[in-house]
Symmetry: C2
Subunit: 522 residues, 2 copies
């Protein structure tokens, strides 16, 4: 608490001066942190003990052994059958024993690196890495000026530009908003071309049918200036597949995952296990089911190509039992994410989780749900944080302002991950002696040598006092974010790309459009 | 990420129904969690290793041995001198060696219980306990209808009522807003009387001069129906004192702390060590100085009465080096709080920290700063979270809406602290078998037996879909909070108090007013 004396000191400290909205510091829309791959060295929070982890593991194994999983994909069924699993072809159900599953899971690497067209943007999954991915897949876009509306190519490009601009976003994940003004048969061609031109970060391909997946791999290969052999030799992109919980993997996602696996490209496997709806109402039960649904696909992909990079994806949250509406950033979401971390470490797999929220607008609720999600990711040691910036409304909307607000939080998490130095010089006894009981540290030598870089500098927080903030228009957080994204888009410059490669990409897209793109009846 | 299939599932899950603003569920303004004392069983996050903890300790000891601390209180100086410390009476500076300090610190209890006038509201400090205290000491109040204005007795009472109403607030700390319309000489009499009538939770006394402290103790004694001996026999209330950093303890705070110590009442010692201003620009240096400033007062109080309950208070944050404005909820604040936790555990003392923010309004910035502060408190294993609800603007404003928003976050933290059950029944293999790959869990027996209590139910989050939320007026978080506090205040009922005790309290206040209250020239 601030006692009376403390409060007076604070008012003295809060001098009339202040940072003027933080814009244009150092030129450009904002002064942001440099491109950095944060390392999360903290011990994870582990809600359940080692014995309970084994009970969850045993439950997942019993699901795979006794109940089985539907694989709605004949090729997958045949692969399992050849491997000696108990496959019921008419029911499309596979049962597999734990020795088999664990033998396959052990083939997956604990960490791997994906190299995009700009090798300086390579990212490593696993270990202490904590990577952030833009919001992916909402059908709607929203901003303060235009409100909520269906996504289109213009808003898609805007969000790809924001993804490229912010150094705290490490990968360009799924479509940050669905460009529904492009026909579904050719949408992937335009969208991936936009992504490859507007970003040089790792890109993702949806597993939505053979043509889309093969086109995406080919376009990433072309953009990287790679031969087919070079593409196959190392991870260059990734996909994410969801189970159709409970206990079912659908055709197109399995098809896409298998296509990527054959070419050594990474697959994130993320069951859609909302507790109370598609998974048990207990968190332990939902994570058990999630684990079974992840591991059976990991086994499939390791059968196809041993060593395929895979990620244990956690999306377990709860629903509102009154309405069935999904909830995110809840206490249950936090604990499920942390327990998922325990399971991923049990299997030696990288972990994916999300910065999710249920709020409809970028208000207080959106921020507490997102902040709680982010700290769940950090305390679970999630290696990949999907939807790290821009997600609203349970994933139905991509928000321009929320994107900027989330990036402010992401930068703070990244700064938090930096080690705290505790050398003799940091302990600063000589500075304390120099200042003594009647001085202050503003002018101390120790301070002067460090003040420019001592503390994290936010680009969106307004730390000016109430009077100055009011005189300047009393601008609240979303309105400040609104100004920032407009400036970023106005100043955006695409990353360089060899014109010959851009031309090859363009030719490929034109040819595939002439061929009709992808079927839309899958 | 939500892939296309996942998104469709989600839209199905998001049925048209929804919770209608969560008001009046179960009667009363909101359906809140019951009075509970949360236990934080998670391992703390420890940013520095054991050797670095010893370097911070050694630094704190060197400050006390080599540089010394100013004690602007002759009685304190005499006590130190009698104990054999190196006291410079003219400079009012005390140096003490580490053997002496640690001998005194070891006398302080690792945990203790405070019993207020209603013993059902007793709270235990220390161990795994995590207790929440209302915002304390802002000079201004703010709400959406009336804006920001100086605090008065009416807003003071409003915040005391909110403090009493919310079960997630465990102690009634300092004045939640300063009632500046009451003359300073008698303000403590009216304010403490209001607190003792409107709440039955543990109350606090400001250490602002002999009369205020003695009056507060006497009023708490009367309200508890206690003899003087009973009052002295166990903790009944507490104070919090701040150092006047760097390296200085002022007269009135020391005087109050010593008065409480003599009667066995707890003292929280919270240096005001803003890194870069009143403490070194390095987090390690600021925590080192903070530790020295805490431990020397702990030693003083243990000399006065061995076993006096004390708390290691952490308020270390950073300032904006451009303006000098204090910042809260920053990465630096988080790490400083966690390292403070390491130091408090090193000394076997309970830890106090805060839910602090710098934002001027209850917007996104306010929430991320508060959420980051709260998770810092949780991961530091803070036993007492000051300013847990209602603080804005670096402590210069108490906000009605922020109070309600914070209580939503506090409830979520409390729910998060509940153990996750992982029995065979929780792992739910039979439920998963029953539902199978083509069903859902809404109707499962396992779900039906648990759905009413399975998940945390927020009172402020709106989880309805965008369409329903829009049709209902598109009410954002602060406006929803505005409705809730008005309903709480409209329905408020004071906790029962024996009329004879209320009368005795009234007589005491009247007599002390006739005597002139407290001098105002301290």
């Amino acid at each position: 608490m601030l006692e009376a004396g403390e409060e007076a000191s604070q008012r003295r400290a809060r001098r009339a001066g202040g940072r003027a909205g933080n814009l244009r510091r150092g030129g450009g829309a904002i002064h942001q942190m440099p491109w950095t791959l944060p390392q999360n060295r903290d011990r994870p929070t582990e809600p359940i003990d080692a014995e309970a982890v084994e009970r969850v593991h045993d439950g997942a194994m019993r699901i795979l052994e006794e109940i089985g999983i539907l694989f709605l994909n004949d090729e997958a069924l045949e692969i399992f059958e050849r491997a000696g699993c108990d496959v019921d072809m008419s029911e499309q159900r596979v049962k597999m024993d734990r020795a088999f599953v664990m033998e396959q899971v052990q083939k997956a690497p604990a960490s791997f690196t994906i190299t995009p067209r700009n090798p300086a943007r390579s990212v490593t999954f696993g270990g202490d890495a904590m990577l952030f991915v833009n919001v992916s897949s909402p059908p709607n876009a929203m901003d303060l000026d235009r409100g909520r509306r269906p996504g289109d190519r213009e808003s898609f490009r805007d969000f790809v530009k924001l993804t490229q601009y912010f150094n705290c976003i490490h990968l360009a994940g799924g479509y940050p908003v669905e460009p529904i003004d492009i026909h579904a048969s050719i949408r992937h061609l335009d969208a991936i071309q936009d992504k490859l031109l507007l970003t040089d970060k790792v890109v993702h391909a949806y597993s939505l049918g053979k043509e889309r997946v093969e086109d995406a791999m080919e376009m990433v290969r072309i953009a990287g200036g790679l031969s087919h052999e070079e593409f196959d030799a190392a991870p260059r992109m990734f996909t994410n597949i969801n189970s159709s919980s409970p206990l079912k993997h659908d055709f197109p996602m399995l098809d896409g995952a298998m296509r990527l696996a054959r070419r050594g490209q990474p697959v994130i496997v993320t069951p859609f296990t909302l507790s109370g709806a598609m998974a048990p109402v207990t968190i332990a039960g939902a994570v058990t089911q999630q684990t079974a649904e992840v591991l059976c696909v990991v086994a499939l992909l390791q059968l196809i190509r041993p060593g395929t990079p895979v990620v244990y994806g956690s999306f377990t949250s709860n629903v509102d039992m009154k309405s069935g509406a999904p909830a995110f950033g809840t206490p249950e979401y936090m604990r499920a994410t942390q327990i998922s971390g325990q399971m991923a470490r049990r299997y030696g797999l990288p972990l994916r989780a999300s910065n999710a929220c249920a709020a409809n607008v970028p208000d207080g609720q959106a921020v507490w749900e997102s902040a709680f999600s982010l700290w769940a990711c950090a305390s679970a040691k999630a290696n990949v944080v999907y939807h790290a910036a821009g997600w609203l409304e349970g994933g139905l909307t991509a928000s321009y302002e929320k994107f900027v607000m989330d990036c402010e939080m992401l930068q703070q998490v990244m700064h938090y991950m930096k080690p705290v130095p505790v050398s003799e010089d940091d302990i600063a006894i000589e500075a304390i002696r120099e200042v003594g009981p009647r001085g202050h540290f503003f002018g101390a030598t120790h301070t002067q040598a460090r003040y420019e870089t001592a503390f994290y500098g936010p680009f969106l927080s307004d730390w000016r006092n109430y009077e100055r903030w009011s005189l300047d228009g009393a601008i609240e957080t979303p309105q400040r974010a609104n100004r920032i994204w407009k400036q970023i888009l106005a100043e955006f410059e695409a990353p360089p790309l060899d014109p010959a490669i851009a031309e090859e990409l363009q030719s490929f897209v034109e040819r595939r459009k002439r061929e009709g793109g992808a079927p839309t009846d899958f």
